[in-house]
């Protein structure tokens, strides 16, 4: 179609753009990848294939702490079909990698520090040959004492400080100690409640296992097709280990089967590239589920001690807390996770005085790092359990206590930061608390605790209702400039948006299409993550940040291209750009029938604009944990209803109502998906999910033994309210929505079980024995009377 033909099309004139277009922000469009994903055509990283492709396999440590005496790869190298066997000595560049500290070896050298640590990698013509070759590598170990109890390094309960400590605090064993001292530390509450709490090790348990395909390039570099959360930070770590300039290490985003934090750290990326460069052939690695459980970082297990001080009317006056996170063998993102846990330890409440200590410590347990909620999840279980305990001590309604202390805009946070923007804590509390209650027990055994096992006795079931509110920071904190980059290009009549923001399932690609459609009023939109040479960093898909940061970058790039197109058209038409607007993929002049189609503007080649988008600067916390460290906060509240069989300790979460602070709804159906999915991960942590680590060994690295909620476990989730108070400074006024649902859902469920049983339940996940063997359990006696 020529430009002339297009220009003959008549359109309504004299109408402004707002009336002509159908904005898609706030509406729904079909996910651009939904059809391919349902048809089975969408290429995940594990689906990739290349001519003469080899299969890689990683040999891992069976010991939590041991000296490596010798490694003999002779047998493996001599096996037919084996093309490469690599160890520490084969790493050309930096031997260590890491997100914050480069402390994790690509292959263990003199010592192994956790069970599952990579020691060698093999590439072979068939995955079974690779597996056998990895097994044929002979490693001789001299086991060393393993440090497995984080409280040996820093006890949570300060009263046992001197008696329990068996290891001297040392810088090497503490990834970070953060100390918050705020207000008048001498103040004492008229009412005080104290408690110790524990959070087990949760796994992200995404469905698509770690996988990738590395292809050696003729220029001496490598192309890596990979599922990750942040292409450019992977690229930088890989290039340093390969001793290659970053531009020779090209990362391409392959389909990502969920992430939830577990893909922030390097897992197999460096091994893949080393094997490909060493063998000169493409190499693919796909973790099986056991390797996935061993190969990525987990949510930090936590031990927490709390003392809350309040006036008799419920006004909080001081919170004391100590939070110990077990960081495992390597730093990963532990320093940032403990900062979050400490900053949010007092909850979304006005707390004039606080003494909070957070420690992330090194042990020989599996390394822990990012998972949805990032430190806020552990703290929320502590402070919300304390708030229930305080309400009970005050004989006060727990909702009223929370409302009385709820943070508002203008309040001062425990870090000294004065809260700006939208802080609708009271709103989420009120909306979730007032959600209607469902009818009582369904008359169907499959819907009862124990499900298909049909073991619950209907006459003994008890129902409990629990409530909690939680919050988290959005975007990176403490001075980190997690900018995002986007390009927007007109080529012919097609708008191409290039942004390395990783789509992990959350729906950023849908939002990018929505933004571009709104600016250009066309559905001829192509979105691409590009490769690492094609576009700059978009930052990580984490910290609920991509809607804000990459949404902001894409919007700014689109606007910049639009302005350029309007200017070009204005020169051609000899009018002011202000008289022009975009409708239906054309530039239209107000009050006239003149219009220019996009393709007429790009006849001389593509037109491209580029934007690097930054958020407002934040600042480091000082020695007292004071400083404007955070950009923005998002809040959510949950009301949970559970049925419990107190004799068997079985729990079924039947309903959860939630209200969430979202700023502005950008895509309702995707928003619901985030809220329901995040809430379910909280239900999982509250009731079933724990990686059980004994002597440093993960005992349940499979979906047979590490349980995540199934469709039969899933409660009905009711969205009581979406609080839309636009956040100043955020594109569209929208807040990130991914993490808040996974935070307060945990204590809400446990609070409900506590109400049903009377058991104190200071640990998640709640296990049957925690209920059955609790002295406070309101078990029916033989005569049916509750004791």
């Amino acid at each position: 179609m020529t430009a002339t033909e297009v220009m003959t099309t008549t359109i309504e004139t004299g109408t402004n753009r707002q009336e002509l277009t159908t904005p898609t922000i706030g509406a729904n469009i079909l996910r651009p990848d939904a059809v391919d994903k349902t048809e089975g055509r969408f290429a995940f990283s594990s689906d990739l294939w290349a001519e003469s492709m080899l299969w890689g396999k990683i040999l891992r440590s069976p010991h939590p702490h041991a000296r490596i005496v010798s490694i003999d790869t002779t047998k493996a190298l001599n096996m037919p079909g084996v093309k490469a066997v690599l160890t520490w000595d084969d790493i050309p560049g930096n031997h260590f990698f890491g997100l914050e500290k480069k402390d994790q070896p690509v292959f263990a050298h003199d010592v192994v520090r956790y069970v599952g640590e990579p020691i060698a990698a093999v590439a072979a013509t068939h995955p079974e040959i690779a597996r056998q070759a990895a097994e044929a590598i002979e490693v001789s170990y001299d086991p060393l004492p393993a440090f497995l109890d984080p409280e040996e390094i820093a006890p949570a309960d300060p009263t046992v400080d001197s008696t329990r400590r068996s290891r001297r605090d040392s810088e090497q064993d503490i990834f970070r100690h953060i100390s918050i001292r705020h207000g008048n530390l001498d103040v004492q509450g008229e009412v005080q409640v104290e408690g110790s709490y524990e959070v087990g090790m949760q796994d992200q348990a995404f469905m698509g296992p770690e996988s990738g395909l590395a292809i050696p390039a003729s220029d001496g570099g490598v192309d890596l097709y990979i599922s990750t959360q942040w292409l450019h930070v992977d690229r930088d770590q890989i290039a340093a280990c390969l001793a290659l300039p970053p531009e020779l290490v090209r990362l391409h985003l392959a389909g990502v089967g969920g992430a939830f934090g577990a893909r922030e750290d390097i897992t197999l990326q460096i091994h893949l590239c080393l094997l490909a460069l060493s063998s000169g052939q493409p190499v693919k690695i796909v973790f099986n589920r056991q390797e996935s459980f061993l190969g990525h970082v987990h949510r930090h297990p936590a031990r927490m001690w709390y003392r809350h001080h309040a006036l008799k009317d419920g006004t909080l006056v001081k919170v004391e807390a100590r939070i110990i996170l077990d960081g495992g063998a390597y730093a990963s993102s532990s320093p940032a996770v403990i900062a979050n846990a400490a900053c949010f330890a007092a909850g979304p409440y006005r707390v004039p005085s606080a003494a909070i200590d957070g420690f992330a410590v090194r042990t020989n347990n599996p390394p822990c790092g990012a998972m949805r909620g990032f430190g806020a999840v552990q703290a929320c279980f502590g402070y919300e359990t304390q708030m229930d305990k305080l309400a009970s001590a005050l004989d006060m309604d727990p909702i009223e206590l929370r409302l009385k202390n709820a943070l508002r805009t203008g309040d001062t946070f425990v870090t000294g930061q004065v809260l700006q923007g939208s802080i609708p804590v009271a709103e989420v509390i009120k909306e979730a608390a007032s959600a209607p209650l469902p009818p009582h027990l369904l008359d169907n055994p499959l819907a009862m605790p124990g499900g298909a096992g049909r073991c619950s006795d209907t006459t003994k079931l008890r129902r409990g209702i629990g409530f909690a509110v939680g919050f988290k920071n959005l975007l990176y904190s403490e001075g980190f400039d997690d900018y995002s980059t986007a390009k927007c290009r007109l080529d012919g009549d097609t708008i191409t948006v290039i942004c390395a923001a990783v789509e992990v399932g959350q729906g950023f690609i849908t939002l990018a299409h929505q933004i571009a459609r709104d600016v250009f009023d066309t559905d001829k939109i192509v979105f691409s993550a590009g490769d690492t040479n094609e576009v700059g960093s978009a930052g990580s898909t984490s910290a609920s940040r991509q809607t804000w940061m990459s949404g902001g970058a894409v919007q700014a790039a689109c606007n910049r291209l639009r302005d350029r197109l309007l200017t070009m058209a204005a020169e051609e038409l000899e009018v002011s750009p202000h008289q022009l607007y975009i409708k239906n993929g054309r530039i239209v002049s107000s009050g006239t029938s003149v219009e220019i189609p996009f393709e007429a503007l790009s006849v001389n080649g593509p037109i491209e604009e580029f934007v690097e988008y930054h958020h407002e600067p934040t600042y480091l916390l000082d020695d007292n944990g004071q400083g404007d460290a955070h950009v923005s906060f998002a809040f959510a509240a949950h009301k949970a209803i559970v049925d419990v069989d107190p004799e068997l300790g079985l729990v079924r979460v039947t309903h959860i109502s939630t209200a969430q602070d979202v700023g502005k709804v950008l895509n309702p159906i995707q928003l619901i998906g985030q809220i329901e999915g995040g809430t379910m991960q909280g239900v999982g942590l509250a009731t079933m999910e724990e990686l059980i680590v004994e002597n440093g060994v993960v005992k349940n690295p499979s979906f047979t033994d590490y349980l995540i909620p199934t469709a039969l476990d899933a409660p009905d989730i009711y969205i009581a309210s979406l609080i839309e108070q636009p956040e100043p400074g955020a594109p569209f006024g929208a807040k990130g929505v991914g993490e808040p649902p996974a935070i307060s859902s945990v204590p809400a469920v446990v609070s409900a079980i506590r109400q049903a049983t009377g058991a104190p339940l200071t640990r998640v996940p709640v296990r049957p024995q925690d209920i059955v063997f609790s002295a406070d359990n309101k078990r029916p006696t033989a005569d049916g009377v509750l004791k």
Binding site: R31, R41, M207, G258
Partner: protein, 227 residues
Amino acid sequence: MVATLDINLKVNGRDYPLKDVWIGESLLYVLRERLGLSGSKNACEQGECGSCSVLLDDTLVCSCLVLAADAEGVEVTTVEGIEGTDMPSQTETATPSSRPVGDDLLAAPGSVPHRHDALHSSYQNPVDTERIEGELLQATPPDMHPVKRAFAAAGAVQCGFCTPGLVMAVTDLLRHNPHPSELDAREAISGNLCRCTGYGRIFAAIRLAEELVQQSPNLRAPSRRAQ
């Protein structure tokens, strides 16, 4: 080093003679790596997640637990073979709720309220999801298989790794049980793990698929295998 053999598979109506297959290769591996049918996914390879679900003749199985050599002599249908108006259907001969678990205890089909109906009088979802599903349905290709269409339109797809397996499981459910109760539906997909959605939009997709199948008389025609 590894023992091999030749096998012949019939997948989605097509014959595949295969040479030098390691005897330990699963049907899932052969589908994905030898036949290029990577729609069947490899989330756990131990029969727990359902993402590799295929039909062996008319039986829904986890293809990771089936040796490829064992799939000789049966017809394999993968997610790529569930297409258009081809519902691999046994509807005309199947009885509702024919599954063995819970027959005696399950209420009659349809008698258990749909999700949210229990609170219908007092609960108002701030998002009109059924209207949105209708709108998004219009944006899906009309010749798509109704179960796939329903998943796309209901917002049941996030990362999408579990989706093909769920499409197989729900297709299998609806051909045995065209009007599943809520618990029928939950039970039918309880072998399919999803980590993204919390299952809410998947339940919505099943309800939508049920309607779409009913509106498509072609879908009740016996499949080519049944002929």
